[in-house]
């Protein structure tokens, strides 16, 4: 049973335990207080942590190394899930900047839009954003052996997508665009030296940074992104076949060491 909390009048910090989970009224709580409660609940083995009335508290879920479900009702602040290693975070509204900053493992699902630098330095796990994201998504995203981060964006990204990207995968579905329109972002893949980017529709040469190359995605590429598109559709609805058959552009780095000679004499 979900407790009805007045969005403004609820006492800050009041929590209720139920079915191995905990529900916290985050109204007016400072992020340190809130995150101490969340970390405490995760440490004592809560399976689900529900946060109500979240308005801008930063670092929610950061550093937690357990597979706990964290449900955020509201607008979480910057660096949601930073450095986390395992939790599932669901947000019912928009998120701010730095979602999944340097996260190691786990899943973040945002049922709205997110701000700039989503998936910055991300090292593993998955992020699904229902709507669009701002500038510099997946900046310096990286991978190592089996740790391959994936960012799926339902709408489009703005400029500098995949800046200095070193690994992992970004898929932008471009849903909700005008018919026939392509992504508007520029400087995509500037400094890119690893990983792959898939964008629905065509991308003009001038939209790419000089370290990125692109071509139409082949059947095997589409097969590769299909599980992630299906997972996106599972969270937010839609038809994976329709999305996939509308065509994607695949971007990859021209070199794995574009700056290798920069300081060499």
């Amino acid at each position: 049973m979900k407790i009805e909390v007045d969005r403004r009048a609820g006492l800050p910090g009041v929590f209720t335990r139920k079915n191995g989970g905990i529900e916290i009224n985050a109204s007016q709580l400072h992020y340190r207080e809130l995150n101490n409660m969340v970390k405490g609940a995760a440490a004592e083995g809560s399976r689900e942590i529900v946060l109500d009335n979240v308005y801008g508290q930063r670092y929610i879920g950061s550093g937690i190394r357990k597979p706990v479900n964290i449900v955020v009702h509201g607008v979480p602040g910057n660096d949601l899930g930073a450095f986390m290693d395992g939790p599932n975070i669901t947000v019912d509204r928009n998120a701010q900047d730095g979602v999944g900053n340097t996260m190691n493992n786990g899943v973040i699902v945002v049922h709205g839009r997110a701000g700039d630098i989503v998936a910055m330095g991300m090292r593993g796990g998955k992020i699904f954003i229902k709507g669009s994201v701002g500038y510099r998504a997946a900046i310096h995203m990286k991978e190592y052996r089996k740790h391959r981060p994936v960012l799926v964006v339902g709408g489009d990204t703005q400029d500098f997508l995949g800046e200095y990207m070193a690994g992992g995968m970004v898929i932008a579905l471009g849903l909700g665009r005008e018919n026939g329109a392509g992504i508007q972002a520029k400087h995509i893949g500037t400094g890119m030296h690893g990983g792959l980017i898939f964008l629905r529709g065509e991308v003009e040469e001038y939209q790419l940074g000089k370290e990125a190359a692109g071509a139409a995605a082949a059947e095997e590429d589409l097969a590769r992104i299909r599980p992630y598109v299906e997972e996106y559709v599972g969270y937010f609805g839609g038809d994976a076949d329709d999305i996939l058959k509308s065509g994607f552009t695949k971007l990859w780095p021209k070199s794995s060491r574009p700056f290798g000679g920069l300081y060499a004499y």
């Binding site: 308005y55 801008g56 928009n94 701010q96 701000g115 500038y135 703005q158």
Partner: protein, 382 residues
């Protein structure tokens, strides 16, 4: 001396907070939701500066210039009042009401004057145009009169600012007792210059106000360019140049808001190269003519006047800005959450592209600015 009182900055980096809220119908509302919104971004400021600008607060004096003054002592006050009396007819002079507030330290003397320029002013200023005359007067006070600083000089608007967290500064100035149709707020986290009362944002000249998050590495060349047009930078803070640049470009040179934005955050040459011929010619001309007013470095700003609230970031968006709109209510903010905190029915929010001005316009702007339409009401979060 006022400008000698500085507060050390501990170089703990974050960013400033900016927030703007306006009602497009000109309905006036109190500063209460502004305090809620700016306090929500407390992490972005460090208590070394907070301030507000608000429009529509003095409808009974809508045709008079209102100077808000800071004085370090009675000598500064009497020198300044002598200058004001020589150049203006002082219709009203009063202490700006304040309440003691925890978190706000020793304040300068705070006065406001409702002024009408004299037809035969003292020789320090020449009358060409009333607005130009007022700009000259503000420059004279801030550069020449020791211990006096004019921090607000528009009609039917006012700036309230000081050293402290913005929500404390707002309570200190009793902003829940004012009603305006545009409000902007700033929480300061000074990184390059030391904090003092006059160095808090907003920066104002006439009815232009600017709140700013970022740093302007082109300050030197911008300042020298503006000096050629009679603007003297006296406030030890880079943001000052934006207020003067906007006044020069829009009021004096008649540029549109969009062209002004294309000067301050000019499109990259690679983008200009791909433009259709006429547009290419325009942007090339703007860059050639006003190259010295290009703002280099990361910034997001909210610029406001009696009829508009304008959001702008640098062309590659190195500082955050989010816009929102809910019927007549318009929002600009460093972060998403405070907009929803004051207005829980807000759905339509978006991230402006770098260099693209978001212009929110007041309807019937002339009537609203002159106080002819006097709607008051309760704002979301108010």
């Amino acid at each position: 001396m006022l400008r000698g009182v500085r507060f050390r900055d501990d170089k703990d980096f974050s960013g400033c907070s900016i927030f703007g809220m306006m009602n497009a119908s000109g309905m006036r509302f109190t500063g209460a939701p502004m305090l809620t919104a700016i306090a929500n971004m407390k992490e972005r400021s460090n208590g070394l500066g907070g301030g507000f600008a608000t429009y529509g607060i003095y409808p009974q004096y809508a045709d008079l210039y209102c100077f808000h003054m800071m004085y370090s002592d009675e000598a500064g006050k009497s020198d300044c009042e002598e200058f004001l009396a020589a150049n203006f007819s002082i219709e009203q002079a009063e202490i700006i009401p304040t309440s003691p507030c925890e978190g706000v330290g020793e304040a300068p003397l705070l006065w406001r004057y409702f002024l009408q320029p004299r037809e035969n002013p003292a020789p320090a200023c020449e009358i060409q145009d009333l607005d130009d005359f007022v700009v000259q007067a503000v420059m004279h006070i801030n550069a020449v009169i020791d211990g006096a600083f004019a921090f607000s000089s528009g009609k039917n608007m006012g700036v309230f600012k000081g050293v402290g967290f913005p929500e404390d500064i707002g309570r200190f100035f009793r902003l829940d007792e004012y009603e305006g149709y545009i409000w902007v707020a700033h929480g300061r986290f000074p990184t390059n210059t030391q904090a003092w009362w006059g160095g808090a944002h907003p920066f104002n000249i006439l009815d232009w106000s600017v709140v700013h998050n970022g740093e302007i590495s082109s300050y030197g060349i911008n300042q020298r360019h503006l000096e050629m047009y009679g603007y003297t930078c006296t406030l030890f803070t880079d943001t000052e140049v934006i207020a003067y640049a906007v006044d020069l470009l829009v009021r004096r040179h008649g540029l549109s808001i969009e062209d002004m934005a294309s000067v301050l955050a000019a499109p990259l040459w690679t983008d200009i190269d791909r433009m259709p011929p006429r547009e290419k010619e325009l942007h090339t001309a703007l860059r050639q003519t006003y190259g010295s007013l290009l703002l280099n470095g990361p910034f997001s700003v909210i610029v406001s006047n009696l009829s508009q609230m304008i959001g702008l970031t640098d062309r590659i968006r190195l500082r955050p800005l989010v816009a929102g709109r809910n019927g007549d209510w318009m929002y600009l903010s460093s972060e998403e959450a405070p907009m929803h905190l004051v207005d829980d029915t807000l759905k339509d929010t978006w991230i402006p592209s770098g260099g693209e001005p978001i212009v929110f316009q007041v309807e019937d702007a002339v009537a609203v600015a002159q106080g002819e339409e006097m709607l008051s009401g309760v704002a979301p979060g108010g």
